[in-house]
Structures are given as structure tokens and as C-alpha cells.
């Protein structure tokens, strides 16, 4: 019976409402020109729902009041106090609810006055309605109405969640929030019957709890981000570009933390806890000759002595396949951690790059050069008058430059001279690079000679020559480049890029010369190893003979592990070199920071009282924070970590320590002794530039590491892979010993070139396919943009026509509605464009 009655009721219902709406719509149509048809329709529905809600409330008010109150006490603690005012405000509140839902439509905010008018008319209409509704009542809650009510409630909930994203003043938000809460509390109870109602209330309560928990969790998460306040502090003093360095530093810290966790948890701790203890094997013992000085500070500082024969370096690890009661596969773990660190780093860097690229607005090539300069060049974070002055100056110059460039009236009369100077500058830079490369090569060779003769005869300088020379070159060459680049007369931004590129080349060249020299040394060590192997057999034979001669009944030969002759273990040597390099690099960074920034600032500050010229604004002045230089330093440091981490598992730990200290030290130095940069440039554009450099460095630094792993046989008596032909043999060994036979078979089939080649081909094809689709997306994007422009042109013409015929109101309304349709089309195509953009 109910169902039959319902459609009729519904029909009547909707008819009446549509009629009412027609009148209201006519009033408001002109005011709501901007709103699209579809949205209006949706809104109308919402209004209907609200009115449905009103009706119901009016019928059920008396009956339900008690129940709802009960419910309320059950479910709400926080918002309870609002309900006290409810009775008085009820009719008002309902109308306001209608308004609130009205304004909720997710489009640009209409202007205030208009909005006010709209709501006024709405108020009057709803009043009219309510008076009419008194006579027309439905006795029971029909399912449709329930449905509507539910929708309305959901809408309210949505409103509450999106309220924060509205550009309204706070008072209005608060009001809307309260109204929505009232509405929810009133009608949520009406949904469901009997037991279902209780269940519903319970669900609502749980939802609230869950929301609160989520909020608290969010709070907690943000509170856990380290150094947030420090960075914000810097940001507000120096603008976003300096802050971007510290954010980059923090990001690096995070990555290194994870690398450290990997190596520490899976390599160092297991070996220290479950491996054979110190002194049980030759590789785990300091040789007799070194024992006397093994604990000296100078030796330890050099990572010799006890430090060399510890978990910090490759050589200490034993090649025993499984250690401890856990049967921990040490060599396998060592190998996989080495591969894992590199893989993880690649993943993180590439993911960050992709995210940054996405944020930069999906391949849109429209360039609003002037408008951006105008509307977005001010950095609102700047809270320091000096920075503000610099910013004013830089904005003015950028305006002037842009104007001059636009006018194209500049004529470079002595273009040949400029060109000559540029070529000369590049030549000079090349000379510098070659010179520094040769210097490093020379020094490394010299140090090898020293090492062969024994380091004991030489002083501190000879021992640390390589690292010192590299650090000094890294310090002074950039200054030289800066001087040289003055010759070139480039635009500051281009000059900065050149400068960065040159420093990058310098560091890279130095690093690679260092590696090549190391390779030479590795080859030397391997030759040495051969002779040691020969000697070893002789020594063994001697030992056997000796023991046999003395006591023929004791077959096990026991010699103190410290006395056993051993190979040079090139892996540990490489690890040591890298660790020393990192240490000296860190030291130079800190010392330059202290001398170049702190001492200079102190001098300038205090000698200024008794000096003949103004030191603060004159020659020495305070130093600026060099963002690009610091970022480059950080990147190269990370490159060295990636390169050396395989041979010295302690490197990530050292780096974490270093980054931690430099975070505090540099924060302090920036705040106390630096002045804001003169050419303040934006951070966001350069972010991906840094990332790209990091990726290049990552690739270049894993290259030699992988080369050594793949092509050089490991030392015979030290490290987890001793006794194997190649380091990666450990994989095959594991496959054979730990997995069932079929698995090994499958693996060998899978690694068959017949399968690998087609797979590679497939990947190449996939890349090609993706690239071509992205190209077509871009084309479609451009096409849509053209369409949009054409439509805009058309709109403009129509507007003019409309303005001409403005005297005739009928005409005007027509054109207005037409415009609405265009707006819809535009919106649709815009959305389409956005989705295309996302895909790109």
C-alpha cells in the first residue's frame, strides 16, 4: 500500500516545488549568472532536500524531541552546548541551513553583495513555502524522503570537511559550522528506526572518535618532523631559497638514516653479535707489527689500528656462510645490502624528481613572464628589512631587464669583444680543471710512493696530502671561477648556471681522478697479494715442518692469528680512503664555516668601531649564505658515500653524524653571521635541478663501485667474499644451497640470454609507447587550449553585442543564458585539459 501511494505523493511533491522554484529562480537568475545550469539543478535538489527535511522536522518535532535529546546526550559531548539554543533558533536555523547548502556549491565565490541578495530572496521564498506547507502534510516518513534526508546529511558532512578550503571570513565559517552541526544532530537521529537508529548513532559516534583520532595523529605526525621550527625561522629571515637548502639537507638526512639503518641492522650488528669475536682469525686481529701503535690516537684518527680491524670495514667480515643460532647468511646479506642501498637511493631520487615535475604544472608551456614577475615575485616570508630592500632592488632590476629584453632595442656594439672574453673565460676554466686534475693525480701517485716506503718516516702533511689537496681545490677553484665569470658579462641567472656547471665539473673531475688513482693502487695491491699468496704457502709449509719436527702427534697447527702473514686487502684500503676523504671534507667545511663566516662576522662587527672605513658596508662586510655551493657540497658528499659504502659499512653512520652536526652548525651560522643574499632567487625552480645533479652523481658514483664488484676478484683472505672468484657468486651459492633444485633451474632459465633479450626489447618498446602517448597528450592539450582561446574570442564578441543591446532586458537575459552555456563548455574543456595534463 505504501509503495503505491508513494509515487503519487512524490509527484505532487516535486511539482509543487518546481513551481515555487520557478518564481524564486526568476528573481535570482540575473544574479546567478555565473553559475552553470547543471550546478543549479544539483543545487535545486539540495534545496528540495532541505525542505523535505523541514517538513519532516515540523511533523516530528514534538514526537522526536525527546528521542533526539536522548540520542544527543549519548553521542555528543563537545557540541552539546549548541543544542541548548536550538529551540529558540529553530526556524531561523533551518532557513540558514538552506542558504548554507546553497553557498556550498564548489565554484568560485560570488561577490558578497550578490550573495547577500540571493540569500534574502531565498529567505522570503522559504518563508512563503513554510506557510504553505502547514496545510500540506505527509503523515509518515517515506523512503524517498529518508533518502533525501540522508543525502542532505551527507552534504552537510561534506560541507564540514571542505569548510576549511573556503575563502570565507572566519565568522561565516563558524556560523556555517554551527548550523551544519545543528542540522546533523537534529536529523541524523531521524535516519533509521528502532535498533538501526541506535546502531546509526553508535556509528556516528565512532566516526567522530575516528576523526578526532586522525586529527591527533596528524598533529603528532607534524610534530615529529625534525627541525621544522628552525627551518621556518630561517625561512622568515632569509626567504625561501636559503630555506630550500635546509629542507634539502633534512631530506638527505632522512635518506642517510635509512641507509644507516640498513647497513647497521643487517650488516654491522649481526657480525658484531653473532660473528666470530675479535682475535679469533687473522683477518680479525691487528698484525703483530702494528700492535704497538694500534691504539694511538693518530693511528685511530687515520682509521688504522683497531679501527681498521673492526666491523667498520670490509676486511673484518668473515666468509662463513651462516652465522649464529639464527643461521644468518652474512655474505649474502652484505651483498644484498650493498645492492639495496643503491637501489633504494635510485628509487627515492627518481620518485622525488617525478613528484617535483608534477608539481610544476604538468607540461604547460604558457609563459606569463611579466604577470608572474608582477604577481608572484614578492616573497611574503621575508621579515627582515634588509632582505626586503634587496628584494625591492632585485624586483626592480628584473622589471627593467624584462622591459629592455621585450623592447629588443639593445644593440651589442662590441659583440665580438664579448665573444672573445667568453671563449677566453672558458679556456681559463678548462685550464683550471685540467690543472686540478693533474695535481690530484700527481699527489695520489706521490702518496702511493710514500705508502710503499712506509708512512712512519713522514709527517702529517705527507699522510694527509691527498685529502687536503682535494679539499683546498674544492675551496679555492670556485672562487677562481667566480672571478673568471666576471669576464663573460652574462645575465646573473645564466652566470649562476655556468658557475654551478663548472663547479660540478671540477668536483667530478677531481673525484674521478681520485678513483683512477685508486684503481692503480688496487692493481698494485693485487700484485702484492700474489706474492703474499706464494709466501703464505711457504710459511705454511715451514709451520708444518716446524710442528712436525717438534711434535708429530699434534696435527692441528696453531699459530697466533696476529702472526699469520696476510694479503693487503684492497677493499679495506678503498674503504679507508673514502672514510678519510669524508672526514677531511667535513673538517674543511666546518673550518671554513667558522673562519669564513663566524670570524669574519666577529671581525667586521667589532673592528668596525675603530676602522677608517665602514667595514659592514665596505670591503669585507658579512658573508652571504651560498646556497648553490652548499647544495653542491652536499651532493658530492653523498656521492662519496654511495661510492664507498660497500667497502666501509660505517660510512652512512658517519654521514648521518655529519649531517646532524651541520644542520645545527649551519642553522646557527646562518642566523648569527650571514646576511641575506643580494641576488635573491627562487627556490622552487632550482629544486629539480639539484635533484638532477644528485641523480647524475648517483649514477656516476655507483659506476666505479659496480665495476669493482663485478670485475675484480675479491681478496683471498679478508671480507665476506674471500675464497670466491667474484663477489656476486654469493647469489649463485645461495641459490644452490638454500633453495630447492627447481628454483635454481627456473632461475638459470630466466637468466638465459634468449629470455633476457626479448624482455629488454619489450621494455624498450614500452618506453617508446609511453613516450609517444605522452606526445599525443601534449598535442591534444595544445588543441584544447586553442579551442579555449577561440571560445573566449567568441564570448568577447557576444559580450560586445550584448552590451550594445543592453537596453532590451529580454535580449540581455538570452545572451546571459547563452554565456552560461559557454561557461559550462569552457569548464568542461578546462577539466578535460587538466586531466590530460595529469596524465602527462
Amino acid at each position: 500500500v505504501k509503495n503505491e501511494r508513494n509515487p503519487k505523493a512524490k509527484e505532487r511533491d516535486t511539482k509543487r516545488k518546481l513551481e515555487i522554484h520557478k518564481t524564486t529562480e526568476q528573481k535570482t537568475e540575473n544574479k546567478k549568472r555565473k553559475r552553470s545550469h547543471s550546478k543549479q539543478r544539483g543545487k535545486r535538489n539540495i534545496d528540495d532536500e532541505d525542505k523535505g527535511g523541514e517538513q519532516i522536522s515540523k511533523q516530528k518535532k514534538n514526537r522526536k524531541n525527546k528521542k533526539t535529546k536522548k540520542l544527543l546526550t549519548e553521542e555528543a559531548e563537545g557540541e552539546g552546548y549548541i543544542t541548548k539554543q536550538k529551540k529558540k533558533r529553530r526556524p531561523q536555523v533551518d532557513e540558514e541551513n538552506a542558504n548554507a547548502t546553497k553557498q556550498m556549491t564548489p565554484e568560485g565565490p560570488p561577490k558578497k553583495k550578490k550573495r547577500a541578495k540571493v540569500s534574502e530572496s531565498e529567505d522570503s521564498s522559504s518563508e512563503k513555502e513554510s506557510s504553505e506547507e502547514e496545510e500540506w502534510k505527509v503523515t509518515a516518513l517515506t523512503p524517498e524522503e529518508l533518502e533525501k534526508l540522508k543525502e542532505a546529511v551527507d552534504e552537510k558532512k561534506k560541507l564540514i570537511t571542505i569548510l576549511r578550503g573556503k575563502p570565507w571570513p572566519m565568522l561565516k565559517k563558524l556560523q556555517t559550522l554551527k548550523e551544519s552541526h545543528d542540522f546533523l544532530e537534529k536529523f541524523e537521529g531521524a535516519l533509521g528506526k528502532g535498533k538501526a537508529k541506535k546502531l546509526y548513532a553508535y556509528k556516528v559516534m565512532m566516526l567522530k572518535r575516528w576523526m578526532k583520532f586522525q586529527r591527533d595523529f596528524e598533529n603528532f605526525k607534524t610534530a615529529c618532523i625534525p627541525w621544522e621550527m628552525k627551518i621556518k625561522d630561517i625561512e622568515s629571515h632569509f626567504g625561501s631559497s636559503v630555506a630550500s637548502y635546509f629542507i634539502f639537507l633534512r631530506w638527505m638526512y632522512g635518506i642517510n638514516m635509512i641507509l644507516f639503518g640498513l647497513t647497521f641492522g643487517l650488516v654491522m650488528v649481526p657480525e658484531a653479535l653473532m660473528g666470530k669475536p675479535y682475535g679469533s682469525m687473522p683477518r680479525k686481529t691487528v698484525p703483530r707489527a702494528e700492535q704497538a701503535s694500534a691504539m694511538d690516537f693518530a693511528v685511530l684518527w687515520d682509521f688504522g689500528g683497531y679501527a681498521k680491524y673492526s666491523v667498520l670495514f670490509y676486511g673484518y667480515y668473515n666468509s662463513q656462510r651462516a652465522i649464529g643460532w639464527l643461521k644468518f647468511r652474512m655474505p649474502l646479506s652484505y651483498f644484498l645490502v650493498g645492492v639495496g642501498t643503491v637501489a633504494y637511493s635510485y628509487m627515492v631520487v627518481i620518485r622525488t624528481m617525478a613528484r617535483n615535475a608534477n608539481e610544476q604544472g604538468g607540461g604547460d608551456d604558457t609563459n606569463f613572464n611579466f604577470s608572474w614577475k608582477m604577481f608572484t615575485s614578492w616573497d611574503y616570508l621575508i621579515g627582515n628589512p634588509e632582505t626586503a630592500d634587496n628584494k625591492f632592488a632585485s624586483i626592480t632590476t628584473s622589471f627593467k631587464e624584462a622591459i629592455v629584453e621585450e623592447q629588443e632595442s639593445r644593440k651589442d656594439d662590441n659583440i665580438h669583444l664579448t665573444r672573445f672574453f667568453r671563449v677566453l673565460a672558458n679556456f681559463l676554466v678548462l685550464c683550471c680543471l685540467a690543472g686540478s686534475g693533474y695535481l690530484i693525480y700527481f699527489v695520489v701517485r706521490r702518496s702511493q710512493k710514500f705508502a710503499l716506503e712506509g708512512l712512519e718516516n713522514y709527517g702529517w702533511w705527507e699522510r694527509n696530502e691527498v685529502n687536503m689537496v682535494m679539499s683546498l681545490l674544492g675551496m679555492f677553484c670556485p672562487m677562481l671561477f667566480d672571478v673568471i665569470s666576471n669576464l663573460e658579462n652574462y645575465h646573473p641567472r645564466i652566470a649562476l648556471q655556468w658557475q654551478l656547471g663548472r663547479i660540478f665539473a671540477l668536483f667530478l673531475g677531481n673525484l674521478y681522478t681520485f678513483i683512477i688513482a685508486l684503481m692503480d693502487e688496487i692493481n698494485l695491491k693485487r700484485k702484492e697479494e700474489e706474492t703474499v699468496k706464494l709466501n703464505m704457502t711457504v710459511w705454511m709449509a715451514n709451520l708444518h715442518n716446524g710442528t712436525l719436527a717438534e711434535n708429530s702427534t699434534a696435527p692441528p697447527i696453531t699459530a697466533d692469528p696476529a702472526d699469520v702473514p696476510r694479503g693487503p686487502c684492497w677493499e679495506t684500503m678503498v674503504g679507508q680512503e673514502f672514510v678519510r676523504l669524508i672526514i677531511s671534507d667535513t673538517m674543511t667545511t666546518y673550518i671554513t664555516l667558522l673562519i669564513g663566516d663566524f670570524l669574519r662576522a666577529v671581525m667586521v662587527r667589532f673592528f668596525n668601531y675603530c676602522w677608517c672605513w665602514d667595514l659592514e658596508y665596505g670591503f669585507p662586510s658579512y658573508s652571504e649564505f651560498d646556497v648553490s655551493g652548499n647544495v653542491l657540497g652536499l651532493i658530492f658528499n653523498q656521492g662519496m658515500i654511495w661510492m664507498g659504502a660497500f667497502y666501509a659499512p660505517c660510512l652512512p653512520a658517519l654521514n648521518v653524524l655529519r649531517l646532524h652536526v651541520s644542520m645545527y652548525l649551519q642553522c646557527w651560522a646562518v642566523m648569527c653571521c650571514n646576511v641575506p643574499q643580494e641576488r635573491v632567487f627562487k627556490a622552487s625552480g632550482s629544486n629539480n635541478f639539484y635533484m638532477a645533479m644528485l641523480l647524475v652523481i648517483l649514477f656516476l658514483s655507483t659506476l666505479p663501485a659496480i665495476y669493482t664488484i663485478v670485475s675484480i676478484p675479491p681478496s683471498f683472505d679478508c671480507g665476506p667474499f674471500s675464497g670466491k672468484n667474484r663477489m656476486f657468486d654469493v647469489i649463485q651459492e645461495t641459490l644452490e644451497m638454500d633453495f630447492p633444485a627447481w628454483f635454481g633451474k627456473v632461475f638459470s632459465y630466466a637468466s638465459n640470454p634468449g629470455l633476457v633479450l626479448p624482455f629488454l626489447l619489450l621494455m624498450v618498446l614500452a618506453i617508446y609507447y609511453l613516450q609517444s602517448t605522452s606526445k599525443t597528450y601534449k598535442k591534444a592539450n595544445a588543441e584544447l587550449k586553442k579551442k579555449l582561446q577561440a571560445q573566449n574570442e567568441e564570448n568577447k564578441k557576444k559580450n560586445k553585442r550584448a552590451a550594445l543591446k543592453a537596453s532590451d532586458p529580454e535580449e540581455a537575459r538570452n545572451s546571459a543564458s547563452e554565456q552560461q552555456w559557454h561557461q559550462i563548455n569552457n569548464n568542461a574543456s578546462k577539466k578535460e585539459m587538466d586531466t590530460w595534463g595529469c596524465k602527462n
Binding site: G78, Y81, G108, P109, K111, I160, L163, R164, G165, K166, P167, P169, M170, L171, K173, L174, R215, E218, N219, T222, A223, K232, S236, G361, D364, T366, F368, N369, F370, S371, M374, F375, T376, S377, W378, Y380, L381, I382, G383, N384, P385, T387, A388, D389, F392, A393, I395, T396, F399, A402, I403, E406, K682, A683, S684, G685, N792, N795, K796, N799
Partner: protein, 186 residues
Amino acid sequence: MGGAASQLPKEMVSEYQMIFFFLSGFFLRAHKRFSELQDRDSLSSRVPMEKILTMPELKSNPFRRRICHVFSTSEPNDGSLTFEDFLDLLSAFSDSATLEIKSHYAFRIFDFDDDGTLDAGDLEKLVNCLTGDTDETRLNPEEMRQLIKNILEESDIDKDGTVNLSEFQHVISRSPDFVSSFKIVL
């Protein structure tokens, strides 16, 4: 509020949290800063604009007066702020505000004569704000004319001689670093 410093009722905080993107600790901090600015003697909860402008975060901002005017809800718009207005300001300039909110407020800040569009006069004032007060950094009239012409050429899509909100938002949404620089941190 008034003289009672840093006493923010708990339910207020939870309500604010529904509206703003801030964390609960932030409201207390903001309230503390705000009540420092408040005059102890006067009972009104509004802080006059001159007081607000002394905040170090706003002191060197060329748009500080405009910012106060935009966020003020006082009847004769004198730029004075209540605590709610103050929170509004901070939330619009916070990290978590969306591009839409930020660009909406930026537009209102740049709209010096409050007429809903950026016309040549607004743009000229804007340029003067950006280039600073001293004469040496000011652009000369010829440059100014050229600059405004270029800007209108770029961003005035419907060619009516002014930049309206949707055009402005279109331009801003393509900008790589608007969101990161349209920020004020307390």
C-alpha cells in the same frame, strides 16, 4: 579575551580546528602573539592596524596595509583585526591553504580600490609597492606604461582592459612558486 593572556577555551580550539588547517598548539601560540599586541586598557577585542603593522612578520611587507584591510571585518574598514580575523590571515598564508584560497586573497590584496578587478591604476600601485619607496628604484613613466601594457597583453584574456579574478587565478595557477612564497610564518 582582553587582558587574560593565552587563555583560549578548549572547545574554541577544537572548533577552530574544524575550520583551519592548523594544529592545536598553533592556536595557543597565535593567541599569545595576538594578546601581546592587544592594548591592556581598552576593552575592545580589536587590535588597530598600526599595532598589527609593527609585527616583525609584516613589518617589511610592502602590502601590509592591504593585508590588514582585506582581512579586517570592522564596519568602517579601518584595518583593525579581531582574533578571528587574525586567524583568518594566518590560515590564508599558511602552508596548508590551497592555491584557490591563496590566489583569492592575493587578488583582493592587489585590488587596491576594492572594485573587483585589477585595472591599470591597481597595477601601477602594485608595481610601486614592489619596487620600493625610494626614487632610485622606481620605474619611470615610460617603463611603467610598457610594463602594464605587457601584463595586460599576457593575462587579460577577454581584453576588457582589466584583469579579473578568474584570469588572475589562471595566471597564478601556472606559476611555479606562488604557493611557496605566499606564506607568512608566525
